[in-house]
């Protein structure tokens, strides 16, 4: 954090996005180490970054967190991951109101399936092959279909009255 501020002389936007995701086939397979790792990266990581960034953020600054559709709807194989994502959504909402007196906005994007290294580094080969096909869009999003939402939520030209929101980008809704 200090290195960033020293290099650029300021900080306006924090995007918390780094995540650990590893599925389990049975609850009994979810070890303490695995559970710890997920929570450390996905919750402690966001907390550490927010805590370190906020002293440098001025009025008009923005934090954008990466949540997940799994934090909204749950996911049977991602027990720990979906729990952290639900936590990120709640943290986003709480932190937004907490930081509003300082003029800092906090929002989250909650992506559905996106074609990135995260999932092929988690799921088995068959599931990777059909990744995203259960959405109404019948395909995963590409990163460039998600990133404009971060611009929108980071820019005070676009979203100055928006804070504490969770924006799902999940390829449509299906009631089952």
């Amino acid at each position: 954090m200090e290195k960033v501020v020293e290099t650029f002389g300021r900080l306006d936007i924090l995007v918390n996005n780094a995540a650990f995701q590893e599925h389990v086939n049975a609850l009994e397979d979810l070890t303490e180490d695995h559970f710890d790792r997920t929570i450390k990266t996905n919750l402690y990581g966001y907390f550490h970054m927010a805590k370190a960034a906020v002293p440098h953020l001025k009025e008009g600054a923005a934090i954008v967190n990466t949540g997940s559709v799994t934090g909204l709807l749950g996911n049977k194989d991602l027990l720990d991951y979906s729990m952290t994502k639900g936590g990120i959504h709640a943290f986003t909402r709480s932190l937004a109101t907490h930081l509003l007196p300082r003029g800092i906005r906090v929002n989250a994007v909650a992506p559905g399936p996106v074609w990135t290294p995260l999932n092929p580094a988690d799921k088995d080969v068959k599931r990777v092959a059909r990744f995203g096909s259960d959405t109404p869009m019948k395909r995963p999003a590409q990163p460039e279909e998600i990133a404009p939402a971060y611009v929108f939520l980071a820019s005070s030209a676009c979203s100055s009255y928006i804070t504490g929101e969770i924006l799902p980008i999940i390829g449509g809704y299906s009631g089952g």
């Binding site: 924090l14 074609w115 290294p117 096909s133 590409q142 460039e144 404009p148």
Partner: protein, 162 residues
């Protein structure tokens, strides 16, 4: 007596009405049944984007963590060639964790296109981070990359010395 008869009449009329409604429902169903086969054939993924995006089945593949974007097939589409910047983040400085790849990489590139300098924090995917850095610089903005674990408080908060 007349009252009782009227009650029976009504009962019969309601029953007849029920039977008629059921016939109507089956008629509606029969019409829709004929269209189901046609609808099932029309289940390809809609292309809603400014360019065409890949549709499953995608190539079968699995990666060791934390995952490498360079090894993904097909390559994730992150540079949004149809997205034109309009200085929405002019002069701003952003940090993107997990900015070496995936959503983070695309966010870094579009932030740069909107006028921001970007610091990328990543775990240890050094070659992916270099690609993101080059992509940000191609947008005419500065980019620094820092490797470390955001889960480690000391990495995030420790004052940095040259």
């Amino acid at each position: 007596m007349a009252r009782a008869q009227s009650h029976e009449d009504r009962t019969e009329r309601y029953a007849a009405g029920g039977a008629e409604a059921a016939r109507d429902e089956r008629a509606i169903q029969a019409t829709i049944d004929k269209t189901d086969k046609i609808a099932r054939q029309d289940e390809k993924a809609p292309q809603t984007g400014a360019r065409k995006y890949p549709v499953p089945p995608l190539p079968e593949q699995h990666q060791a963590k934390p995952g490498s974007e360079a090894k993904l097939d097909p390559q994730p589409m992150f540079d949004a060639p149809y997205y034109k910047g309009s200085e929405k983040l002019k002069g701003k400085v952003a940090i993107v964790t997990g900015g070496d790849s995936g959503i983070g990489r695309s966010v870094a590139v579009l932030f740069a296109r909107e006028g921001a300098d970007v610091a990328i924090l990543y775990l240890d995917e050094h070659s992916d981070a270099k690609v993101t850095q080059a992509a940000v610089e191609k947008e005419g903005r500065k980019c620094i990359t820092i490797a470390g674990d955001v889960a480690e408080a000391a990495f995030v908060v420790t004052p940095w010395k040259k």
